[in-house]
């Protein structure tokens, strides 16, 4: 009994004090009122939440959802065949190497990856120089950087490993004989894929989607660096409230974002019964 307290105590204490308490505090702040030059007045009101219903913010939520959804879908389409190949079609020796290779770029650091794209996509950056030298274009493509395209490129690139790994885990458990059986029974490749492989790897797909979608929803550095600060996502608005010293509004938006994510998670994991194991 005492040993349990000793073992679990530090973690519960640390997370309780330095994680749950801060979350509790922004919950409190979200019902407080802003005083003009920063600071907070403690009179309970729901004005911050009402302010979040302003149509002004709706286009921001909408945009965040669209970008996050697009990131997730593009990632899924790119990564599923890769995960499938690694899990099903490569030998044991190659498997580990290929997995390691798709994780390595992820170890290079988040800012570096983003910077690499700035470097590549600039008007006089690598890609434009290459295209110009090849005489494919006669002036630089300016939409490559500081655009939604650039934001999507940066986001998708950054999330690829988070998509591949969970897909790989569930594809590896797939019994390939079931696919063969389906094809023997007359299914073509596509229907075997959509009616056998996809349902059997549903858990992995859901986990991967969740792992990619959530960080994309809260992203704010990529839109800033690659998007040229031309349009805001929810993360940028939260960051702005800190800069503009409106902690109550920032808190309310943070609480809202957290609740949305928790609800999405519950929905996602209700639809995949055994998903808890693979989430680990």
């Amino acid at each position: 009994m005492w040993s349990t307290v000793l073992l679990l105590g530090p973690a519960v204490g640390w997370l309780g004090l330095f994680f749950l308490a801060p979350l509790g505090i922004i919950l409190l702040y979200s019902f407080a009122q802003r005083s003009f030059y920063g600071g907070v007045q403690w009179n309970f009101h729901v004005g911050n939440y009402i302010q979040l219903l302003d149509p002004l913010y709706f286009s921001i939520y909408w945009r965040s959802l669209i970008i996050a959804t697009a990131t997730t879908l593009i990632c899924l389409v790119i990564c599923y065949p890769v995960a499938y190949y690694i899990a099903v079609q490569s030998s044991k020796k190659w498997k580990n190497l290929l997995l390691l290779l798709c994780v390595v770029p992820f170890w290079t650091g988040f800012l570096l990856r983003t910077y690499a794209w700035v470097f590549l996509l600039r008007a006089e950056g690598f890609i434009n120089s290459l295209l110009m030298q090849a005489n494919l274009i006669d002036r630089p493509l300016t939409w490559l950087l500081y655009s939604d395209f650039a934001v999507l490129v940066g986001q998708v690139y950054g999330e690829i490993p988070f998509m591949i790994l969970p897909l790989y885990v569930s594809l590896e458990r797939l019994d390939i004989r079931l696919v063969e059986a389906a094809m023997d029974l007359g299914a073509n490749r596509w229907s075997a894929f959509f009616r056998v492989v996809v349902p059997l790897t549903k858990v992995g797909i859901i986990t991967a989607i969740v792992l990619v979608f959530i960080p994309s929803l809260g992203a704010f550095i990529t839109p800033d660096l690659l998007g040229g600060a031309k349009s805001a996502m929810v993360g940028n608005v939260i960051q702005n409230q800190f800069v503009q010293r409106n902690q109550p509004l920032g808190s309310a938006l943070s609480v809202l974002l957290t609740i949305v994510i928790l609800v999405l998670l519950i929905v996602a994991f209700r639809s995949g019964p055994r998903s808890k194991e693979s989430a680990q």
Binding site: S3, T4, L6, L7, L8, V12, W14, G16, F18, F19, L20, P22, I25, I26, F36, Y37, I60, Y85, I86, Q89, N96, L98, V103, P105, W107, T108, G109, F110, L111, L112, Y115, A116, V118, F119, L120, A123, E124, F126, S129, T142, Y157, I160, G218, I221, G228, A229, K230, S231, A232, I238, Q239, F242, V243, Q244, R245, S251, S254, T258, I261, Q280
Partner: protein
Amino acid sequence: MTRLWLIIVYLILYAPIAVLVVFSFNRGRIGAVWRGFTWDWYTAALNNQTIIQSLRLSLLVAVLTAVLATLVGTAAALAFYRRRLRLRRAYEAMFYLPIIVPEIVVGFAMVAFFGLIGFRLGLWTVVIAHVAFSVSYVFFVVRARLTMLPPRLAEAAMDLGANEVQAFVRVTLPLLAPAIAAAALLVFTISLDDYVITSFVAGAGAATLPLQVYSMIKTGITPEINAISTILLLTTVVLAAVSFQLRAGRFTKVNGTLVATVLIGIGAFAAGGSNPTVTQAELNLLIWSNYIAPSVVRNFEQRYRVKVNMETYDSNEAMLAKLQAGVARYDIIVPSDYMVRILIKQNLLLPLDHASLLNRVHLDPAMLNRPFDPQNRYSLPYAWTTAGIGYRKDKVTEPIDSWSALWNPAYRDRIVMLDDVREAFAVALKLSGYSLNSTNANELRQARDRLVEQKPLVRAYDSAAFDQVLLSGDAWLSHGYSGQIAKIMLEHPAIAFVIPREGCTIAIDNLCIPRVAQRPDLAHEFINYLMEPAVAAENMNFIVYPIPNRAALPMVRAELRNNPALFPPAEALKNCEYLADVGETMLLYDRYWTEVKIHR
């Protein structure tokens, strides 16, 4: 088919990194044209004290985080191992939370929390925050391994006479070691890489490498970043490879020694930065990014035997937010005119002791006694600037003398605007012939409409790196500050700067001492030191913003002294205005700015 796809995806994964690495050896400073091989950027990066210092700090934080999180997280995982736990699900949920909650929310919550309990931001707040979000990773990695352990082994040991502790130390722990080591490495790299949360909770003197890299990406894009990136890449790849081996369960002597060596090496490097024998006095400086010469700071440190901790910001509002978070004790801040007014009103500034600021006699009287602080009781001018148009004479052939150039469709996608609500509105208001401090809703609405109309032409909104965008040729016209544009004039002959005839903002940045300062005595020394003519000249040669110090001017490089972009004739300034505090109207500005930003 699938194999081809696989190859393409791996190419995409590695191409950006490969290009980044290759260009760290490129002789050219800008652009992506190969100009020959050089090691110069590596030498430069490794001689850059700011970078080395922040690297040390990052490693120190990562080591502390790895040790603490691994201890705490492993213990928690053991508590879950073959024990009945009340509230098991609740605890599990608690461990899931840090993985689920977006980083931006965590950062925001942490800084609110530290502010509320009055905990000073610094190195420790970074470690505390890092441990808080990484305990969960350790917990899940170690627990996954524990569930795979054959349960009977420990029982067998106990049957053979071992007590619970012995069974744990001699049987369970060795079996668990690979997972613990892998978890520690995972946490180490996560901590090393974290930007978002750190940017909220790092106080003065806690600028970790990611914070440094971010400000380099934002302000000075040179191959130095590529060089540092390459070094980091190599380090992380080695660590990652070892970690991968460990998780696969291959805990060999070689791996163990490798990890131990790397850790000891890193620890020694990190500890080498702090000088434990001398407890030095510290001065906490909060200043605009790239706004003071490193040599000026270094000389002060040596002359007065103090350590200067520097933290940067890129808007007055961000500075105020940091100051009001109330958690860091800055000794010197550098607010602009209207912000000085706000700070005085808020009673956040300490009156200056003019008796100890003898060098103020050198200052240009034209920059003293300005309306925001009539007797200079709280502030002394540090440097000043205008926000006009920087442009490329080689790309823009017509003469530029009006803001309307930034609305010219011929320059579509070649225009950069400052990412700052007041500066952007100042341009639009001036273009319509209004005061840039307008509080008239009608005028503001017109200004908003103009900015919305301009948006399709704008390449980016950027307050920090607008000069780099101009220099690299990405943009041809940029709304920007005189000093920063003058700095790139030194590098590129085709760059010009103009104060539009409609007028623009003029700003004085001032040295002030906040009330919360811990060393007001040292702060006064520092201000007095900065006003020494030789120091001011050295400083101006580096920052390239005009410093209003008459005695320093003869010592300033001629190409700066004679540059009308920096020292415009009085005639050019006649329509310029200082930004004023607009009070509650700021809410309207913010709202309209958001509307501009969301417009597609």
